[in-house]
């Protein structure tokens, strides 16, 4: 069919696929391990001493420890061992790029190029604990101290959970309607299928001691000064609210979308058949978001999806594994080309024009060679940025920034008294869920120490 048919312009339509196909396309990409598979895999683990995988996990989960418990049939114990260090162990099991984290460090990777499937085992261990009726952690005696957490993403909720466990009373302020942050609004649907993010949020809150105020935004509905006045400490886990602009002609045309906005719609859709998608898609960018929108567009029924990145494959922030995943999903990846302009027809985008690039003296330059890709929709996925406005009073930020994000010390402490921060909104992070969780946990421990002191 492809190409042979003259199609209307722009060819954007909903309900391209049957309900069964939508269901299959957005089901769990990596179905859970069966018990016998898990035991065989767990038994591959050497139970290393001073295991390199533990160091490679930002949250420092006792990986050999939990895997040994799986091997002996102590699955609940394994789940708990994970959640002790990482309360979002369930989503991390699904979304972590393990190929650059724990599994990269696994000694079996060096030995055989085949690491233990740590992520899959982590899911196997945590699923039952998350589904259990009783939350596995109990709160310490109340300290009477109150902490405000801004942002209900992985960073904010990990911080809130740990503080609640330590006996503090926490209030989470979340601008959106739902908690979860990008777990709920951003991560690819097939990684956290079946509303996993919601179930996990409920699990995290079940520890008790966490009050939730959704639809309340810092900067709009309350100020940092209010929070510092009303609470003993404040944690900022606001993520990245802004999107980088393409800064090329035609960006305002209809059919040109921010990838994160479209993904948010997809993640909240009650029925995928309601989502209009083009027949020919161009994605601009080289990170997780670019891969995710490209694959999800394909899975919504787009015919040709081309992802264009301005540098080489090695320079992409999406891992090799993610790139391969996109390619096996039928996404074409073109490297070393930068957008020149988007051209339109009848007000809608029709073509994306690129110029090949090369590196000269360490700088990326256009080679002058041009090509154009027909497009019904163009997705921009060239990165998100931190928006400091909510932290500003009288036009200037109350907090010191570094590289456009909040500057913190090793404990997550900001330049401002009583204020900590973590997750994507801080400088020097990795922009990964697991890093956000670790930031939240570490800040909670620091806040606890400061409140006790």
């Amino acid at each position: 069919m492809a190409g042979s048919q003259v199609t209307a312009h722009p060819d954007i339509a909903a309900a391209r696929l049957s309900p069964e196909v939508y269901r299959a396309n957005f089901a769990d990409v990596h179905p859970p391990l069966e018990a016998d598979q898990a035991v065989v895999e767990a038994n591959r683990c050497y139970f290393c001493y001073d295991a390199p995988c533990v160091e490679a996990c930002p949250t420092g989960i006792d990986i050999p420890g939990f895997i040994r418990k799986i091997a002996t049939g102590n699955v609940d114990g394994a789940g708990l061992r994970i959640l002790e260090e990482n309360i979002f162990g369930g989503s991390c099991a699904r979304v972590c790029p393990t190929e650059i984290l724990c599994e990269a460090a696994c000694v079996r990777t060096e030995q055989q190029g085949k690491p233990i499937a740590i992520g899959a085992l982590q899911r196997y261990a945590t699923d039952p604990t998350l589904a259990a009726a009783v939350h596995p952690f109990t709160r310490a005696l109340s300290t009477g101290r109150r902490v405000a957490v801004v942002g209900g993403g992985p960073a904010g909720l990990a911080c809130a959970h740990r503080l609640a466990m330590l006996g503090h009373d926490v209030t989470v302020f979340e601008a959106r309607e739902r908690l979860g942050g990008l777990n709920e609004y951003g991560i690819a649907e097939y990684k956290v299928a079946d509303h996993f993010a919601r179930a996990e949020v409920d699990f995290v809150l079940a520890v008790g001691g966490i009050a939730v105020r959704t639809g309340v935004a810092l900067g709009r509905d309350l100020s940092l000064a209010d929070l510092r006045g009303d609470y003993d400490a404040v944690f900022l886990g606001m993520g990245l609210a802004g999107v980088k602009a393409l800064e090329c002609e035609g960006e305002e045309l209809q059919g040109v979308f921010n990838a994160v906005d479209y993904i948010e719609r997809l993640r909240q859709a009650a029925d995928f058949a309601t989502l209009p998608i083009g027949r020919r898609i161009v994605v601009i960018g080289g990170g997780n978001t670019a891969i995710d929108i490209a694959v999800q567009a394909k899975r919504l029924g787009a015919e040709d999806v081309t992802l264009v990145y301005r540098r080489t494959a090695e320079a992409m922030s999406a891992t090799g594994h993610e790139q391969e995943f996109a390619q096996t999903n039928g996404v074409r990846i073109k490297h070393s080309a930068q957008p020149v302009r988007l051209t339109g027809r009848d007000g809608g985008v029709a073509e994306a024009v690129f110029e090949y690039t090369a590196t000269q003296g360490g700088r990326l330059v256009g080679t002058g060679e041009i090509f154009a890709l027909p497009a019904d929709m163009v997705f921009k996925a060239i990165g998100q940025v931190f928006v400091a406005d909510p932290l500003a009073e009288g036009g200037s930020s109350l907090l010191a920034l570094a590289n456009g994000r909040i500057r913190v010390d090793a404990d997550g402490k900001t330049s401002l008294d009583k204020v900590w921060a973590g997750g994507d909104c801080i400088a020097g992070g990795q922009d990964l869920t697991v890093q956000a969780v670790e930031d939240g946990k570490r800040a909670a421990l620091a806040i606890h120490r400061s409140l006790a002191g």
Binding site: D36, N43, Y46, C48, Y49, D50, A51, P52, V107
Partner: protein, 431 residues
């Protein structure tokens, strides 16, 4: 390739691989399938007197080790539960159709001469090649004064063996139970009674596991269990030791041995043969995978023999026996030290933690920058080779010779041994 033809105590078979007396040899149907698959011989499932025994549900237990099934296997089965006449009829037919294979009939009857005489006469009628006396079965039959009840009393073994030799022209193999303190008592008794060969081991008394919900030993029979006979890969080391003890015993010298216990690969078989076995018998591995395993048993053994230039089984049978010594004759001057190949090391740290916690604190755990490095502290290493065993990488940790090979001194000569010949009574200084 090497010739696997086997001559063993008057039996001839195209290869040394026999099926042990057990369910795989229960009836003509199985045995014909086994012969078609290429097995060299069989020991027919043990016959007894009518009326036949009755078996339980369930009958088997098994040990899974780290996801691997049937590392050990246990059973509470008895001897054949089919009428004697049917078995005899089938034996006759099978032997007629498969004249080149060894067909041995296992027997267990009450401990009186008449019973043995009667059944031997019946077996002779079938033209079977010989008999194996089941003195090993650890359950069910021993309670009736048969099986291991006989096999644990050397005098009974000798007596029954002698009866059998008197009442038949067929070669007699005596199958030994491992459920004794020393295998030499029963083995020597069999030799004294005139046995043509011994076979071992039968199953080991065991409780393979406990069902923690039912609070009953496996295999569970209506909520209860009993001790069972253990076999399969887990028992191979026990069997090898017992085979070697007989092979190197002066009183048993020359007695042909059929090795049994945990044999699953040609390598296992080669080890039994190296320790003195002339044939080997297999049960659990066949029950786990079917008769087709014989293909690689034969092929692998023949290829390995060819690489060693062994033309036939007898070329290496018993070759390792002379190297099995009592501990006090091992050279205490032989020294080794562990060496870690840093190129192969994958930094799992298992050698370090094993030596640090449970041996001699002879492997240092070092960090250079982010990297890990494990190094042997030569002065502390006692050459126990624990680290080599726990290391998951083949060839990464090896034991390097540390003495110059010029000295040899065993415990009987050692100054620390008060009974040593010429020991120095004072400070144990070297000679």
């Amino acid at each position: 390739m090497a010739d696997l033809t086997t001559r063993f105590a008057g039996f001839k078979s195209p290869n040394p691989f026999w099926l042990a007396s057990a369910p795989p040899t229960d009836k003509a149907y199985n045995i014909v399938r086994a012969f078609k698959a290429g097995w060299g011989g069989v020991v027919w499932k043990t016959l007894g007197e009518d009326p036949p025994v009755v078996n339980t549900c369930s009958r088997y237990g098994a040990t899974s080790y780290k996801g691997n099934r049937v590392a050990g296997f246990s059973n509470i089965e008895l001897i054949t539960d089919r009428p004697l006449a049917i078995n005899l009829q089938e034996i006759k037919e099978v032997k007629r159709d498969w004249p080149d294979r060894a067909l041995v009939v296992s027997l267990m009857v009450p401990c009186d001469e008449e019973s043995w005489k009667r059944i031997l006469a019946a077996v002779e009628e079938t033209d079977a090649d010989g008999v194996e006396l089941n003195f090993g079965c650890p359950h069910g039959m021993s309670e009736r004064g048969m099986g291991s009840a006989v096999g644990q009393v050397p005098e009974y073994i000798e007596m029954v063996t002698r009866w059998c030799k008197q009442h038949t022209r067929m070669p007699v193999i005596v199958k030994l139970t491992p459920n004794v303190t020393s295998i030499l008592g029963p083995a020597r008794a069999a030799v004294r009674g005139g046995a043509d060969a011994v076979s071992l081991i039968n199953t080991v008394n065991s409780i393979v596991s406990v069902d923690l919900d039912l609070m009953a030993p496996e295999p569970v029979v209506d909520g209860k269990g009993t001790h069972a006979g253990y076999c399969g890969p887990a028992v191979k080391p026990i069997a090898l030791h017992m085979v070697a003890e007989i092979a190197r015993d002066p009183e048993c010298r020359g007695i042909p041995i059929s090795g049994i216990g945990g044999i699953e690969s040609w390598r296992d078989a080669a080890e039994f043969i190296a320790l003195g076995a002339g044939t080997v018998q297999v049960c659990t591995a066949a029950m786990h995978y079917g008769f087709r395993i014989v293909d690689d048993l034969k092929d692998g053994l023949a290829r390995w023999m060819a690489t060693k230039s062994y033309a036939g089984i007898e070329d290496f049978s018993g070759r390792a026996v002379a190297n099995v010594r009592d501990w006090q004759y091992l050279n205490l001057e032989y020294k080794t030290i562990a060496a870690i190949d840093q190129e192969l090391c994958i930094k799992c740290g298992l050698c370090h933690i094993a030596c640090e916690d449970t041996a001699h604190q002879a492997i240092a755990s070092l960090r250079n920058g982010g990297g890990r490095r494990y190094e042997v502290i030569a002065g502390e290493c006692v050459g126990c080779n624990l680290c080599m065993h726990v290391c998951p990488v083949d060839g990464c940790i090896t034991m390097q010779r540390a003495d110059d090979g010029s000295r040899e001194r065993n415990w009987t000569q050692h100054p620390n041994n008060p009974m040593a010949v010429g020991a120095s009574p004072v400070d144990g200084a070297a000679e």
